[in-house]
């Protein structure tokens, strides 16, 4: 997977978001074992402590879990993955609706436009 970092946000939060996206979009499949922190950090080109913190946050959110001796895995809980996917979709929708409102479109017009597009 390709890691790209913006300049205006902490690297830690960008790691959390990119890994979340990889999980909900299936790049990281349910139950998949993650590479070691060192290998993953080298692949992403980031500090291992920063990645470690990002993984701990994802663990806290239930998207990954660790097994003491075997390493870290992507959750197998489909509900957690769906909830995260839904939340990301809602974020995209909110941004889209906001941009369309700025263009002067009403809700009904937006829906009509979407239907046309599809």
């Amino acid at each position: 997977m390709e890691w790209i970092f913006r300049n205006d946000l902490p690297i830690y939060s960008q790691l959390v978001e990119q890994i979340r996206l990889a999980i909900v979009s299936g790049v990281f499949t349910p139950g998949m074992r993650l590479s070691s922190v060192r290998d993953m950090a080298a692949e992403a080109g980031v500090n291992p402590n920063t990645l470690q913190r990002a993984l701990q946050e994802l663990e806290r959110q239930g998207l990954v879990y660790s097994q003491r001796t075997n390493g870290r895995f992507v959750t197998e809980d489909a509900n957690v993955i769906d909830q995260n996917k839904r939340a990301l979709a809602q974020g995209q929708l909110a941004a889209f609706l906001d941009a369309m409102k700025k263009l002067g479109y009403e809700r009904a017009e937006i829906i009509a436009l979407l239907e046309e597009e599809a």
Binding site: D8, G45, N47
Partner: protein
């Protein structure tokens, strides 16, 4: 206990003050960027940590002790100058490092030489400047040191080698060792760093984590540095 600690450390050369009452501490497990414009005191600080210079005032402690035999055994130093004897080959240099440093990991050095496609039998004299820098870096990173002091490690190398160096720093990461990288090429090293130290006119302006600068300023350390040190 910090691996490197400075207390009111000053260094003067005649009437020039190179370091002015610097106090800082660096914990094991951290990768630190020592960032400052030319002439700000980066190399002086690193040389003091190596015992190549002695303080005018204040003190510098490595693993709790003034620089000496103990610090030399645990500090791996990459100079900003070339110092490899021209008549030697990487193989001879590895023999040399193995004799000198108990923590030298020869297998690691050989693997890194091979990965960069370097010939262990080529004389330093016949190497390009970039190749010499790579050999120097390989020797330094092949020690299992507690403190790596890298003075401008990515200054003179091509982008592919730069990536390899940063990759090496990440892969060699050890929670018991600290890495200090002095550089002015901040954008390249920024994602690899835990913390940065901004140094100017011999004084520490700031010690902060990379992500707290990004969080608070809404910009990268590189951008923030340009703002702070605008000419």
């Amino acid at each position: 206990m910090p691996i490197l600690e400075c207390r009111e450390l000053s260094k003067r050369f005649g009437r020039t003050t190179a370091l002015d009452r610097v106090s800082l501490s660096i914990e094991p497990g951290r990768v630190i960027g020592l960032l400052g414009p030319n002439g700000s005191g980066k190399t002086t600080l690193i040389k003091l940590a190596n015992g190549l210079l002695t303080p005018s005032e204040g003190e510098i402690l490595i693993d709790g002790e003034a620089p000496g035999p103990h610090s030399k055994a645990i500090v791996s130093y990459l100079s900003d100058k070339e110092y490899l004897p021209e008549w030697m080959t990487p193989k001879q240099l590895m023999d040399f490092f193995q004799d000198f440093y108990a923590d030298f990991d020869r297998a690691r050095a050989e693997e890194m030489l091979a990965r960069l496609g370097l010939d262990p039998a080529q004389k330093v004299k016949q190497m390009s400047k970039g190749t010499r820098e790579k050999v120097q870096l390989i020797l330094v990173m092949s020690r299992r040191a507690k403190l790596y002091l890298l003075d401008e490690p990515i200054g003179g190398v091509d982008p592919a080698t730069r990536d390899y160096i940063l990759d090496t720093i990440i892969r060699n990461y050890n929670p018991e060792a600290a890495v200090v990288i002095s550089t002015h090429l901040i954008a390249d090293v920024e994602p690899v760093l835990d913390e940065v130290l901004f140094i100017q006119n011999g004084q520490i302006l700031l010690q902060s984590s990379v992500d707290s600068i990004r969080e608070e300023k809404g910009m990268s350390v590189d951008q923030y540095f340009r703002e702070v040190f605008r000419c």
